[in-house]
């Protein structure tokens, strides 16, 4: 079948994106508007709308100059990532015309419409439909069809009318680099037709293979591929039942079948599920959802299934369930691990247990300690969710530290030496032995209200009554506090 390529070029893609979404505080295309890109220490215009161009502004112009020319210029910072996303959105839209849609640079699309045009009543109608859709969406787009990718590109970027013969277009329409373009111009070769008239051998010798390649690609002598965008992987499966079910065992069996299919999908992509959602649709159109958060990325159906038991038990089946849908709402990369006899890997049983506990009390509430780099007692460790961390072994402490820490509780005492007698928590205590002081200074680079009172002198006080307390004295703000208890 004869190849037929549609090229779409969006010359103002970034500014159109902002203006059509109404992201700018003015969503008015009739007023000058520009996107600003910060590079080499200056703000430059990255993209602008026709109203701004009419005022004499152009791309790459310094922003301060532009403001001088056009005081009512509205501006927004450029966002190249959002632009790329928008182009992908347009590529998805392009799939309504043909399945073969590829990106062309950062501001264009290439569609191979061979065999698809008749669905829209012919090529001309199809192109019209594209132009109308783009205009309605507020995106300025140039759309042209040709037999080759190079020719279609030349038509959108350089032709005045879309039906022009490409031999009359300037040589730059061949997608040449700036250097070859200038040297061709210098020799008086202004149009593609001039270039075609020359013998090929001399052309190749004089300008190298690149010009020949581009010329052949535009004329169809050399094939050029359009790489279609892959479908984003989609991790959900569903099952519709002819008759409603209501027994837990039946629902679990259905879930198992879905899980096997889902895990195959995950396996194919080297992914593991971190969060799963099972939606059970009832015959009365009500839907019940079972959420499952896993303590580690997993794709083993036999291990995940028992974890669903608790959630499925709690579901109210009503008049029966006739559709099950299972989706991995959060996935993580999970590569096949090398089986290794010497390395003690994390035991799987623990992860399953954490998952089960986490589904009861919340996965974030299962925590473990990790060491932190600080002398402040309450900041020398941190509690992190066990599901998202691995144990670390670098625990060290220079001085003995209390087993329990509490928020400092003031006691009545004066002087910089520990009191001989004091009352704490309604107990009268007598100091038997005091060890210290150990001075700890606040970390001034981290604001902490508890440490406003300045440096602390910590004492370990063994009381005659038995309790071993951790007291501190704040010399800058005299006062005594109990902060911890030793074993």
């Amino acid at each position: 079948m004869r190849k037929r390529v549609v090229s779409m070029w969006f010359p103002r893609l970034p500014s159109d994106r902002v203006l059509r979404a109404g992201l700018g505080h003015i969503a008015d295309n009739n007023r000058p508007f520009a996107l600003i890109h910060h590079e080499k220490n200056t703000d430059r215009i990255y993209c602008l709308n026709p109203a701004a161009e009419a005022q004499g502004l152009h791309r790459g112009m310094g922003f301060s100059d532009a403001r001088a020319y056009c005081p009512d210029l509205q501006s927004e910072p450029a966002d190249k990532i959002a632009d790329a996303k928008f182009l992908h959105t347009l590529a998805r839209w392009g799939k309504r015309y043909c399945p073969w849609v590829g990106l062309d640079g950062t501001d264009g699309l290439m569609l191979n419409i061979a065999g698809a045009a008749h669905l829209f009543g012919g090529e001309a109608k199809m192109l019209n439909d594209m132009r109308h859709s783009l205009a309605r969406a507020g995106v300025k787009g140039r759309v042209a069809a040709a037999d080759t990718r190079g020719a279609a590109w030349a038509l959108t970027h350089y032709a005045r009318t879309y039906t022009e013969d490409i031999t009359s277009l300037p040589v730059a329409a061949l997608r040449l680099d700036a250097k070859s373009d200038t040297s061709l111009q210098r020799l008086g070769l202004r149009t593609i037709g001039d270039l075609l008239a020359l013998p090929r051998a001399t052309l190749a010798r004089r300008f190298g293979p690149d010009v020949m390649l581009r010329l052949d690609q535009a004329m169809g002598a050399q094939d050029e591929v359009i790489a279609p965008l892959g479908e984003a992987p989609h991790y959900s499966v569903r099952m519709t039942l002819p008759d409603p079910i209501g027994l837990v065992a039946d629902v679990m069996m259905g879930t198992e079948r879905l899980l096997v299919r889902l895990c195959d999908k995950l396996k194919a992509q080297d992914m593991g599920a971190r969060q799963l959602q099972l939606t059970l649709r009832r015959v009365d159109q009500g839907a019940q959802q079972v959420e499952l958060r896993l303590a580690a990325p997993m794709r083993d159906a036999a291990r995940i299934l028992p974890l669903f038991t608790r959630g499925v038990d709690a579901v109210d089946a009503g008049y029966g369930i006739d559709q099950l849908r299972l989706e991995a709402t959060q996935v993580e990369r999970l590569l096949d691990a090398q089986i290794n006899a010497s390395k003690a890997s994390r035991p799987d049983g623990l992860e399953d247990l954490i998952t089960r506990l986490g589904n009861r009390i919340g996965l974030d509430n299962i925590q473990r300690f990790l060491p932190a780099d600080s002398h402040i007692p309450e900041r020398s460790f941190q509690s992190v969710p066990a599901a998202y961390s691995s144990p670390s072994g670098s625990w060290a402490s220079l001085h003995s530290r209390p087993l329990r820490l509490f928020t400092p509780e003031p006691i009545a005492a004066v002087g910089s030496k520990p009191p001989v007698q004091f009352r704490w928590r309604r107990m009268s205590l007598t100091t038997g032995r005091a060890t210290g002081p150990e001075r700890i200074a606040p970390e001034w680079w981290l604001p902490d209200d508890n440490w406003r009172s300045g440096v602390r002198d910590y004492w370990k006080v063994d009381t005659r009554e038995g309790r071993r307390l951790w007291l501190f004295y704040t010399p800058q703000n005299p006062g005594w506090f109990v902060q911890g208890e030793f074993a």
């Binding site: 506990l357 299962i366 329990r404 038995g466």
Partner: protein, 184 residues
């Protein structure tokens, strides 16, 4: 026959024990063996500090669960005891357990072959407990870095009651019973 320390300590596995008194947390830290889960309700304001735990257990081996109330705490404890992956479960209790709850914990521990330890406020013991201890710190006149404690077994399903003075030996990481003679 009077019960000896070796008969009741280490705590019998596949059972749930109880400890109360001022030294309850130290008791838990000293008895925890291997990987353990420490269940304490999220509203409790004081924290167990890993640097303080270091002489007794490796902070790496310890997981913490912070349920919002006692019902959840009991659920988590039962699940973990039954599962058997973590051999030791510490549960901090804030209201007395009834016989059903205590019995369920015992059955879970039996099913999983694990040991449970409930830290209870004084007088809130459950009848289902295998042993109940009262731990209180003692002032040690001899040494400075001491962990001298008085451990009294105040309930024992399979023996008589007794009392010992114990000390933690940081080098060998084990409990030493201070002999009666040395105390005099």
């Amino acid at each position: 026959m009077r019960v000896t320390f070796q008969n009741v300590f280490p705590l019998r596995t596949a059972r749930v024990h109880e400890v109360c008194g001022a030294g309850a947390v130290s008791f838990a830290a000293m008895t925890a063996q291997g990987r353990s889960l420490w269940i304490r309700q999220s509203w409790l304001s004081d924290t167990v500090a890993p640097q303080g735990l270091m002489p007794f257990v490796n902070p790496e081996d310890l997981l913490f669960a912070h349920p919002k109330d006692q019902a959840d705490a009991l659920g988590v404890a039962e699940e973990t005891l039954k599962d058997g992956v973590l051999p030791f479960v510490i549960l901090e209790i804030t209201r007395p357990l009834n016989l059903r709850e205590g019995r369920r914990l015992q059955l879970a521990a039996k099913a999983g072959g694990t040991t449970g330890l409930c830290l209870i406020p004084k007088g809130m013991g459950s009848n289902a407990a295998e042993t109940r201890w009262e731990a209180s710190p003692l002032f040690d006149t001899q040494s400075e870095d001491s962990t001298l404690q008085r451990w009294e077994i105040i309930k024992n399903k399979s023996g008589t009651l007794s009392v010992w003075s114990v000390k933690w030996d940081a080098q060998t990481r084990r409990i030493n019973v201070v002999s009666e003679v040395a105390q005099r």
